[in-house]
Every structure is written in structure tokens, then in C-alpha cells.
């Protein structure tokens, strides 16, 4: 169903370095290294990774466990910063940003979708979606956006007053997607979004992501499943901290 979109963007060369002048890279990595100092010696999780992702792209990052793909996702998600190299998110180099600015960048520019949904168990579905809006505006939502977003992902009515433990896995992931969209982020980051779902529900969730992509969202997804990766325009494979 997203073939059309893939074709429309098939001009993208996908070359590392991001020298493409035709689009605007929303994510740009240049020789990104991430080293974790350990007593037994440094662990190099990322060893000089360079690529760029244009606005509106749907990119899958694949790799075996321990390949560095999670580290890469954490860097793009501004949860961590590179040891060296340049990592631009929406044109801003995050390597020297303060925790405060990184947190605000996560809030405004990035929407996370996790394998284990990661909703706040104490809040209802509605409140989970409303939370990022409150964090941004400092007050409760009056625009009705959380309800719109929940309807968009297929949840409405009494369902949105339930707390996560009262919802099925698929419903929880839908809430999580609605939450990720709350502040209209430039980038959606999905970490094994179907990993905890049965294949039927997984397909529904992937269709939902494909729809969002068609609407022009930039999606970066980590997966080890080829079938899931097939939804993406482009696949970046990571192995031993490098692009394979």
C-alpha cells in the first residue's frame, strides 16, 4: 500500500554524508562514534556512522542484536549524545546540547513508539496522549487534539478513559502512536513496534504507520523482522557499529 509513496521518493540516492541538495535532511549523521568507557576497556557501540534521512522518508534500521542499532536509535532520539562526530536533528547539532535542551527537543521534535508500548500505567489513554501537550504548554489541553489523535489511530468512546492495563497490546500501541504524534513531531522513532504483538495486530499497527508515512511523516524504525522492514522506503543495516 505504500508502494506509491516509495516510488515517489525513489529518487533518493541514500548516500551517506547527506550531500543531497534536493531535499532537507531532518536527520544527519557524520562520522558518529559512540564509545562507552568500561573498566575492562572501551566498548565502541558506533564506529563512524554517516547517513542522512530526508523529511518524509520511512527508514528501517536493521541489524543483529549487539550491532549498535539500539545505540543508534538512542542517539537519533536525543536520549544520548555521540562521543564524537556530528548529529543534526532538524538542523541542530545535539552533541553539545544541555540535558534541558535535549529534553525539550525530544518533547517537540521526536515521537517515540516502543516495543513494550511504555504508557504511563497510572494515567488513562486520554491522559497519556495529553501528557506531552501539557508538558509543552504547561496547561491542560482545551483543543481536543488528544481525542482527534486517538480517533485517528482507531480508539474512541469509553475506551479512551481506560488505563493501559485495561487495554489490549494492540490498543496500547495505538495509544502510544497517538501520544508520539501529540506535539506534531518532525520524526517518529519506532523501536520494534510490532515486537510484542501477534502478527495480525502487528500488521494493523504497521498499516497505521504506513498511513502516517503517506501523510508525510518521517519515520525511523528499528526492527529485525524483514517483513516489517519491507514497509520502509529504505533499509539501513548496521553491523559491528558500522553501516554494512
Amino acid at each position: 500500500m505504500n508502494r506509491q509513496a516509495s516510488q515517489a521518493r525513489s529518487w533518493h540516492p541514500g548516500t551517506p554524508g547527506g550531500n543531497n541538495r534536493m531535499g532537507t535532511p531532518v536527520i544527519e549523521l557524520e562520522e558518529v562514534r559512540k564509545v562507552y568507557p568500561r573498566l575492562a576497556g572501551d566498548v565502541v557501540a558506533l564506529n563512524g556512522v554517516s547517513f542522512a534521512i530526508e523529511e518524509g522518508e520511512f527508514v528501517a534500521i536493521m541489524g543483529a542484536s549487539g550491532s549498535g542499532k539500539s545505540t543508534l536509535l538512542n542517539q537519533i532520539g536525543c536520549l544520548d549524545v555521540p562521543t564524537s562526530g556530528r548529529l543534526l536533528i532538524d538542523g541542530r547539532d545535539i552533541r553539545n546540547m544541555s540535558d534541558f535542551d535535549l529534553t525539550n527537543l525530544r518533547r517537540d521534535a521526536i515521537g517515540f513508539i516502543f516495543q513494550k508500548f511504555n504508557l504511563i500505567p497510572l494515567l488513562t489513554a486520554y491522559e497519556n496522549v495529553e501528557l506531552p501537550l501539557i508538558m509543552k504548554k504547561g496547561q491542560r489541553d482545551v483543543s481536543g487534539r488528544p481525542i482527534d489523535l486517538l480517533r485517528q489511530v482507531g480508539l474512541e468512546g469509553e475506551m479512551i478513559t481506560h488505563t493501559p492495563p485495561e487495554l489490549s497490546g494492540g490498543q496500547q500501541q495505538r495509544v502510544a502512536i497517538a501520544r508520539a504524534l501529540a506535539n506534531d513531531p518532525k520524526i517518529l522513532l519506532a523501536d520494534e513496534p510490532t515486537g510484542n504483538l501477534d502478527s495480525k495486530t502487528g500488521t494493523q499497527i504497521m498499516d497505521l504507520l504506513a498511513n502516517l508515512h503517506e501523510e508525510g511523516r518521517t519515520i525511523v524504525m528499528v526492527t529485525h523482522d524483514r517483513k516489517t522492514a519491507a514497509y520502509a522506503d529504505r533499509v539501513i543495516t548496521i553491523s559491528d557499529g558500522r553501516i554494512a
Partner: protein, 385 residues
């Protein structure tokens, strides 16, 4: 953003989720607040009760002879006349005092003896049973002494050693408690003439001036001192207000000490709150990771936990305050039978003060867990189970 509704809701819901645990921690605060508040209220009531008793004697100036070592010259008639002159219309009561061996029936011991002009007795003490002394005859005894020696009106006391003078009890005094100057509960009062006939006339041991208008006390004191001590120090004028201040200062430090003991239970409560907060943080590491990943700032994470501590503190302190109001009321009515002591602002002040301390203690106990929660690495927190 000082107060965030949704962060507060998160804290509130977590308290509700772990209701029993939160309740137990709050019970600690209830006990702590109860301890310091009840102790404080009791101390304050005691202070008020004692000072209201003592201030009955606060309008009294007592003049003692200025003694240089060795001499026990009393105040002379001449000096007394001068005192009377400078005291204006205020009653001046010369008092002789001493102590002697007494015997009643087969019991004997020592007691203080005061010699007073029979006309002045009414200003110093009240007669409970019998009559006051008249002329040179008879003695009045204090209630405690009367009880100890099993004396009643008509009993005979022998003063001095064998062959001493025997004197008849004509009246028993009303209990006067403790007033700064004369302690009549354990003493014998005889007439001045009887006193001098037994012990000789060495002058008066002290002179009391009852200042009828309490605001004039400083002026009267100054007058007497100017008159008596102009050339050389002949008398010491003692103002019972100084004594009153000393007593209430002492009671104040006693009640502070008792409150400090109550404070120990608050420290125990603080430890349990601290423990509950640490548990709350470690149970919610994952949640903290999620919140951080969707853009919640460090200080906002801290706020969630501080709110939780404050909710526990506020609930505990509120209950503690209510219980101590009830307990304090019962205690005051039982100990002093005077509810105005309880309703005095100095006493009731301990209720908001105790609550404030309780909440502050909880808040402080929450600071470290809250900071710890905020400092968690978001990636590691997200990976927690």
C-alpha cells in the same frame, strides 16, 4: 512551572495505588506531629497556668535589708517609716521571719515562723478555718504543716526546745501555693509581739509593699530606692516580675526539651517517609524513563516525588493536628481544669506549627529520592523492568 496539575495527579494516584504503604508512612507523621504538638500545647498551658498563679503576686515589691557579711541586722522602725513615706498610699507590710523547732503532741520538727502585725494578715494570707490572730495570742498554721502534724483549730504547738513556749492554733490558712516571697503553706504565723517576745527584736526580715496600681510599680520601686539608698546601700528592693520572668523562662526551656523528645518520633517518621519515597522511586524507574523520553524535564520528575512526599506529609500532619487538638483538650481539662489555657493563642499556635514542621520534615525526606529520580539516565531507566 511551580505547580503542575498532571504531575500532582500522578503523585496522588501513586499514593492511592500503594495505599497501605502510604498510610503507614503517614501514620508515622501523625504520631510525630501529635507528639510535638501535644507536648508543646501542654508546655504552653503549664506556662500560662503558672504565670497566672504567680502574677497574683506580681504587684508586690519586697524590701530586704542590704546585708554585708556577718551582720543580720533587720530593717529598723526608722527605715520602715521611710519606706512607708516613699510608698505613698500603698499598703506596707513589715514581716519578721525565722524558723524554730516545733513540737505538736509527740511529733516534732522544724518550721518557718513569721511574725506579722495582726492587722496585716489579711493582705498576706486567707484564713480557711478558725479565726485570724488577734492581739498577741494564738498562731495561724499553713495547711500543709497542719496536715503533717495533724493540727486543727485548738491544737497546741510548742515552739523552741523543751520548756519552750506553748501557743494555741486559732486558724488554719487557705492553701496559697507558691508565691515568690512568703511560703505560708508550711509555716506558722504569729503576731509581731509574740515573735519579738520569743526571739527578740532584731528588726524586720523583709517589708512587702503591695502596689495597687501595677503600672506604678517601677515608680514606687524608684521612690523607695531613692529614699533608702541615696547615701549608702541600706536595702535591696526585689521585684517579683524578675522572678516571674525567670520561672517562665525555665518552664519555656522545659517545654522545649519535651518537644524535642517528641521531635524524635518525627525523625523516625521522616526515616519511614524517606524509605517509602525511595521505594516509590525504584518501583517507578521505568515510568521515569518513559516520562524523560517523551520530554519531561529533570526538575519535573523531582516535582512528582516531592508532591508525593507533601501529600503524605499534609495528610499525616492534618490528622496529627486534629488528634492533638482532641488530645490537648482532654489533657488540659484533666490537668488544669481551665479551658481558657487551651484556647489561648500561645497554646493553639502549636497546632499550625506542628503541622508545618510535619510537612517540612516530609518534604525534606523527599528531596533526596526526588533528586535521585531526576538524575536517572533515561536510557537505563527505560530498560528497567
Amino acid at each position: 512551572m511551580i505547580f503542575s496539575r498532571i504531575l500532582f495527579d500522578l503523585a496522588k494516584r501513586n499514593v492511592r495505588l500503594h495505599f497501605l504503604r502510604s498510610l503507614l508512612a503517614a501514620v508515622g507523621i501523625v504520631i510525630g506531629v501529635l507528639a510535638i504538638t501535644a507536648m508543646g500545647m501542654m508546655g504552653s498551658s503549664l506556662q500560662l497556668a503558672v504565670s497566672s498563679q504567680l502574677s497574683e503576686g506580681a504587684n508586690t515589691l519586697v524590701i530586704y535589708p542590704y546585708t554585708t557579711s556577718g551582720s543580720d541586722e533587720g530593717i529598723t522602725e526608722r527605715q520602715l517609716r521611710d519606706i512607708k513615706l516613699s510608698a505613698g498610699t500603698n499598703p506596707v507590710i513589715p514581716i519578721m521571719s525565722g524558723s524554730d523547732r516545733i513540737a505538736v503532741g509527740s511529733k516534732n520538727g522544724y518550721a518557718g515562723i513569721y511574725g506579722l502585725d495582726p492587722g496585716d494578715v489579711g493582705d498576706i494570707a486567707e484564713v480557711d478555718k478558725g479565726v485570724s490572730i488577734r492581739g498577741g495570742e494564738g498562731a495561724l498554721v499553713g495547711p500543709a504543716l497542719a496536715e503533717e502534724y495533724d493540727m486543727r483549730v485548738g491544737s497546741r504547738i510548742t515552739l523552741g526546745l523543751d520548756g519552750g513556749r506553748s501557743i494555741r492554733v486559732v486558724g488554719i490558712l487557705k492553701e496559697s501555693g507558691f508565691s515568690g516571697t512568703m511560703m505560708t503553706d508550711n509555716a506558722i504565723i504569729v503576731s509581731e509581739s509574740a515573735f519579738t517576745s520569743m526571739y527578740g527584736d532584731e528588726g524586720y526580715s523583709m517589708v512587702e509593699v503591695i502596689v495597687e496600681d501595677i503600672s506604678a510599680i517601677d515608680r514606687v520601686k524608684e521612690n523607695i530606692e531613692n529614699k533608702m539608698n541615696r547615701r549608702e546601700e541600706t536595702v535591696t528592693v526585689w521585684d517579683s516580675r524578675a522572678f516571674l520572668d525567670m520561672i517562665s523562662e525555665t518552664l519555656g526551656s522545659i517545654s522545649l526539651f519535651v518537644m524535642a523528645i517528641g521531635g524524635i518520633s518525627l525523625i523516625v517518621a521522616a526515616v519511614s517517609i524517606f524509605n517509602v519515597m525511595l521505594m516509590s522511586v525504584s518501583e517507578r524507574i521505568k515510568e521515569i524513563g518513559i516520562l524523560r523520553s517523551i520530554g519531561v524535564q529533570k526538575h519535573e520528575i523531582s516535582l512528582i516525588f516531592l508532591y508525593e512526599a507533601v501529600i503524605l506529609g499534609f495528610a499525616g500532619s492534618l490528622v496529627g493536628a486534629l488528634v492533638s487538638l482532641i488530645g490537648g483538650y482532654a489533657l488540659v481539662s484533666f490537668m488544669f481544669h481551665d479551658m481558657s489555657l487551651f484556647f489561648a493563642p500561645q497554646t493553639l499556635m502549636y497546632v499550625p506549627a506542628g503541622m508545618g514542621i510535619g510537612i517540612a520534615v516530609c518534604l525534606l525526606s523527599g528531596v533526596y529520592p526526588a533528586l535521585r529520580a531526576a538524575r536517572l539516565n533515561p536510557i537505563e531507566a527505560l530498560g528497567a523492568e
